[in-house]
Symmetry: C2
Subunit: 148 residues, 2 copies
């Protein structure tokens, strides 16, 4: 299998696969003409990388899982190094969530206070119809990396 086919089957670009190879994450055999040659095993490795990447793991953090698979283990998380990455990721997530919670509390409180002061400064009829300013342009920003 050449790089184009693997990229398509893995749902990645050829650039990404070359990048992974340059980082030593996915070394490739070569055919006589210099083309990269991959097999089904490489597809499994890529799926492992993809799963972790979608969870917000950095590339380096996927390395233990990939090496675990290449070492012949049935799953990428069958090795101690992978478990350690899991654990540190959990700690990182908990820390991040806690900080975001604290910030959310503070920003929410600041907003409430500022809204109160604004309503005092310019008393509009709060109990009448409140036209819901700008509810249409919801900046949902489609979900990407969880920015861990």
């Amino acid at each position: 299998m050449r790089i184009g086919e693997l990229a398509e089957r893995a749902g990645m670009t050829t650039r990404t696969l070359r990048y992974y190879e340059a980082r030593g994450l996915l070394p490739a055999r070569r055919t006589t003409n210099g083309y990269r040659a991959y097999d089904e095993e490489d597809l499994r490795l890529l799926e492992q990388i993809r799963t972790l990447r979608d969870f917000g793991f950095g590339l380096e953090e996927t390395r233990p899982f990939v090496e675990c698979l290449r070492a012949g283990h049935p799953a990428g998380d069958s090795c101690p190094a992978s478990l350690e990455v899991y654990r540190s990721k959990l700690a990182e997530l908990d820390d991040c969530i806690a900080r975001l919670h604290a910030v959310r509390q503070q920003v929410g409180a600041d907003l409430a206070r500022a809204e109160l002061e604004a309503s005092v400064a310019e008393p509009r009829c709060e109990w009448s119809t409140h036209p819901q300013e700008t509810p249409d342009t919801t900046p949902v920003e489609r979900t990407e990396r969880p920015t861990p």
Copy 2:
């Protein structure tokens, strides 16, 4: 006040102040010899920026607050544009927290499963003293931007 003094009083570097000026966030008067000249008002603006930045607001998100202060309002969040930034930040935080929660659940479950499988494969005495591997090198990574 020149840039060095302001930077020190605001707890920032001169590079940061020049960067803010380049972004149009903190324009500076100039003395006859070309040096930047600041006053106490600029210190207030910087403190506003700093507060928001510490909460994870991007530079552009601090702009409405800074302009609100420069317009003579008592607080940076006295203007509608600032409130709108508060609101979108809240939504962003809620979204981010929810995603991190989901990821945390999944990673936690994966870790538990992998640990279980590991303990089945290599049964060590779980009920005896468990030496708490590597609890000393806590990768706390001193608190920075909440990466919103």
